[in-house]
């Protein structure tokens, strides 16, 4: 395992950050070949629901490398209650695998029987804060472990919102006592698409809640009005501004961070992915050094 101990650790307790890759079938052989250079893998939980053979294989994998489970289909950030059977599927998988942590998204994915097909941002309002908190408290109780909740990318500012994104996320985390899986490419994309400063966003969310981080790449797409927006497609290399945000997050947080590189297609060589893993470790180390220097200099 190649965890990153914080620079400046001699003068303070060491913070052991870890860096891994999202498990995808196309990357399986490469990950297993290089597992000594990868601290953890994150597995899409929904791919294993009702698939006992796959779960057995996942247990075997968990003996090789620590695993985090990532859900995409619960739709917990909703004014509607998530059905118990959906949460129980996650509970069974968490019980079978005993992951490092499990996570889901601050999104809704269905309403009134309509399946949106992906993660949609609900109106950022007190009603969805309350609904999300109730869903998260129920999910935590049924699964037995609280999830880390991920901020999502959205191409549209959700209509009917009364709160800005940072306030909405902070309120949900506080009401549910859940920690944050901070997706930095989503912050980068939303910042560009909706006109805010991603670094300022990081300062507005509770740093003490950040426990895990996603990094990924996307692309600019042209809108019909001639403007451009960032699509978070996970098909491209991690851009430099996202590594800068990773450094910033490491400078703000005192928690050990689990960083996951997400790649969903247009796969480069394993060496290229491992180079991005190394870049992530370097960004973490730079951030930890800054944090240590701030702690050491009084005032």
């Amino acid at each position: 395992m190649a965890g990153v101990a914080a620079a400046g650790a001699e003068t303070m307790n060491a913070i052991y950050d870890t860096v891994g890759i999202g498990w995808r079938p196309e990357l399986a052989a490469g990950i297993l070949d290089h597992h000594a250079r990868i601290d953890l893998v994150e597995v899409i939980a929904d791919d294993f629901f009702g698939e006992p053979r796959r779960v057995r294989a996942l247990k075997t994998l968990s003996a090789q490398v620590p695993i985090a489970l990532h859900g995409v289909g619960l739709g917990l950030a909703s004014a509607s209650a998530v059905e118990t059977w959906r949460i129980e599927r996650m509970a069974h998988l968490v019980e079978s695998i005993s992951p490092l942590f499990w996570s889901e998204h601050l999104a809704f994915v269905r309403a009134d029987g309509i399946e949106i097909g992906h993660l949609a941002a609900p109106p950022r309002s007190d009603a969805t804060v309350d609904g999300a908190a109730e869903n998260l408290l129920r999910a935590s109780r049924i699964v037995g472990v609280k999830p880390f909740m991920e901020n999502i990318a959205t191409l549209i500012e959700p209509p009917g919102s009364a709160l800005d994104e940072a306030s909405w996320i902070s309120k949900i985390l506080s009401a549910s006592d859940c920690d944050l899986l901070l997706d930095l490419h989503n912050v980068f994309a939303n910042g560009l698409n909706h006109g805010y400063d991603p670094k300022e966003f990081l300062r507005q969310i509770p740093a003490g809640r950040i426990r895990a981080i996603h990094i990924a790449g996307g692309k600019l797409i042209s809108a019909p009005d001639g403007t451009q927006r960032v699509l978070d497609d996970h098909l491209h290399d991690v851009p430099d501004p996202v590594f800068d945000l990773l450094e910033e997050a490491a400078a703000l947080s005192l928690n050990p961070l689990s960083v996951i590189l997400e790649r969903d297609g247009s796969y480069p060589s394993m060496e290229s992915l491992l180079a991005e893993v190394s870049q992530a470790r370097q960004a973490l180390a730079r951030g930890r050094t800054r944090r240590a220097e701030r702690v050491e200099v009084p005032g």
């Binding site: 909703s78 059977w85 097909g117 992906h118 949609a120 609900p122 191409l155 919102s161």
Partner: protein, 100 residues
């Protein structure tokens, strides 16, 4: 209109081009037909149309990519749903008895 109904209205917009076209041609009438409050109607009048179309296209692409589920998986899901439904009913029933 409740927050749940508003979410359902948004979900319909995201998946149905016809709903988006009707909203675009006459936002206030469409909002009124859906029973939206004045505040919600106002929010839809000021909706980011470009973002709505781009997000809807992105959701459509994701739905297209979604793998068909195996027969085994859907049977397991149905079984879990029945067990979950029955256990919810037992919990509710025993909760009521506790209150009595």
């Amino acid at each position: 209109m409740s927050a749940k109904q508003f979410e359902a209205f948004l979900a319909r917009l995201y998946v149905d081009a016809g709903s988006r076209a009707r909203l675009r041609s006459n936002p206030l009438a469409e909002a009124k037909n859906a029973g939206l409050s004045n505040a919600e109607s106002k929010a839809l009048e000021n909706i980011d149309w470009v973002g709505l179309e781009m997000a809807s296209q992105s959701f459509a692409n994701k739905r297209e990519l979604r793998r068909p589920r195996s027969r085994f998986s859907s049977l397991t899901d149905r079984l879990l749903r029945v067990i979950s439904f029955l256990s919810d009913r037992v919990r509710r029933h025993s909760g009521r008895r506790g209150l009595e």
